[in-house]
């Protein structure tokens, strides 16, 4: 499924977080967005998930325009997109299993048994088969994030948005989550848009890396090019600071 941003601008007050942005993602590609904090990377994911609207420009998903769009259109687009958040955002009032099975039942119309069977399979995949009945608050941050990934995958999205998914984790829990995402990137044909500060991870999974600064794309290219031989001074500076 393809995603296209054309001339997109987003401001918060006087602060322009995205400045006439153009870019597109081809189906099945893994694109990583890097750059300093506040450079608008997360805003891009949030706009795709319809959590915030652009001030100018158009965003299309599979040729369908997102803003403005009817409620039905928006729902149809959302159905193809899954998102994993920095703070996990699991539902604390539900068991792990129900966190995953809730939307497949109420949105996709699966039976409770089907949805729970699918949820159990996914928990197996993320290595938490024994945590079905636990409340999210009983899990470590890394485990919660793996549940959140399972929850997003349960909707069988064609695009997966990963918003700094390891930033809130204790350092020793980061590897487990990243390994899981590497597996998913390798073994599925899901389109991925990923905002991360984990450069090794970005190098491993990406087909394309976009370097952002001050609401613009400074440079884009293959991970080999961006990490080994960046053209722009700003990219070198940023990578020098984080690597």
């Amino acid at each position: 499924m393809s995603v296209e941003f054309s001339n997109v601008t987003k401001r918060f007050g006087d602060n322009t977080v995205l400045d006439h942005l153009d870019f597109s993602v081809k189906p099945g590609k893994h694109v990583t967005l890097i750059g300093p904090s506040g450079s608008g990377k997360t805003t891009i994911l949030r706009m795709l998930m319809t959590l915030t609207e652009p001030d100018e420009g158009t965003i299309t998903v599979d040729g369908e325009r997102l803003f403005p769009a009817s409620e039905r259109q928006v729902r149809a687009v959302r159905r193809k997109i899954g998102m994993v958040f920095q703070q996990f955002n699991l539902f604390p009032n539900m068991s792990v299993l129900r966190n995953i099975a809730e939307a497949p039942v109420t949105v996709l119309g699966l039976s409770k048994d089907e949805a729970e069977a699918r949820a159990r399979e996914l928990l197996e995949l993320v290595g938490l088969a024994d945590k079905c009945d636990a409340r999210p608050s009983r899990l470590s941050g890394g485990q919660q994030q793996r549940v959140a990934i399972a929850r997003a995958l349960a909707m069988r999205p064609q695009v997966l948005l990963l918003d700094e998914v390891t930033s809130a984790l204790d350092p020793e829990l980061v590897a487990g989550v990243l390994d899981l995402l590497r597996d998913i990137a390798r073994s599925t044909d899901i389109t991925m848009l990923c905002v991360t500060h984990e450069m090794n991870f970005a190098r491993d999974i990406s087909d394309q890396v976009l370097m952002f600064d001050a609401g613009r794309i400074v440079e884009s290219g293959s991970p080999e090019k961006i990490f080994n031989d960046p053209e722009q001074e700003r990219t070198r500076e940023f990578l020098g600071a984080v690597l």
Partner: protein, 216 residues
Amino acid sequence: MNWDWDAVRDFMPLFLDGLAVTLQALALGSLISFTLGLVWALLMRTPTRWVRWPVGIVTEFVRDTPLLVQLFFLFYVLPEWGLTLSAMATGVVAIGLHYSTYTMQVYRAGIEAVPAGQWEAATALNLPRARTWRAVILPQAVRRVVPALGNYVIAMLKDTPMLMAITVLEMLGRARLFSQQHFQFTEPLTVIGVAFVVISSLASLLLRTLERRLVR
């Protein structure tokens, strides 16, 4: 001052009648105020101001006028408009309505305290709005507000003697009746004082248990 156990015994039948009325008024008043307060809180979140404005004005008006005035109004004015309720029903409606304007604020705070990330996760999963409210937001909001609602149960309990004003005789009303007939004040008033403490404590205990259940 002499304490007369016989007076206590003689007061018992009247007291039990009064207790039944108090508990009934408290239970129904709580039920109405908890339900109606939630309805107000949800209506105040609808996008159309043609809903929010009238709800805001009515609830503000009810909150800013004394319960006693509302009791009299419902008791004496409603029948003139052709709506006649029993005194007890009138009292319960007045208490429930009055306190719903407080519980509404409690619910509002509880709803606002649910992190934005919960709404965002629900959106990302494409959950319908009604389902988001029912399965995600309200369970979390209600859990947060149980202690605050508990305070209003106790406040409501202590307002039930006002029902006397519209001829409903709850505990204090019966104590007063007994005192006037027997010229004994100490015993009946002490008995109902203790009863108020016991009911408050039991209500608190009940709500704390509920809170623990919900928090888990």
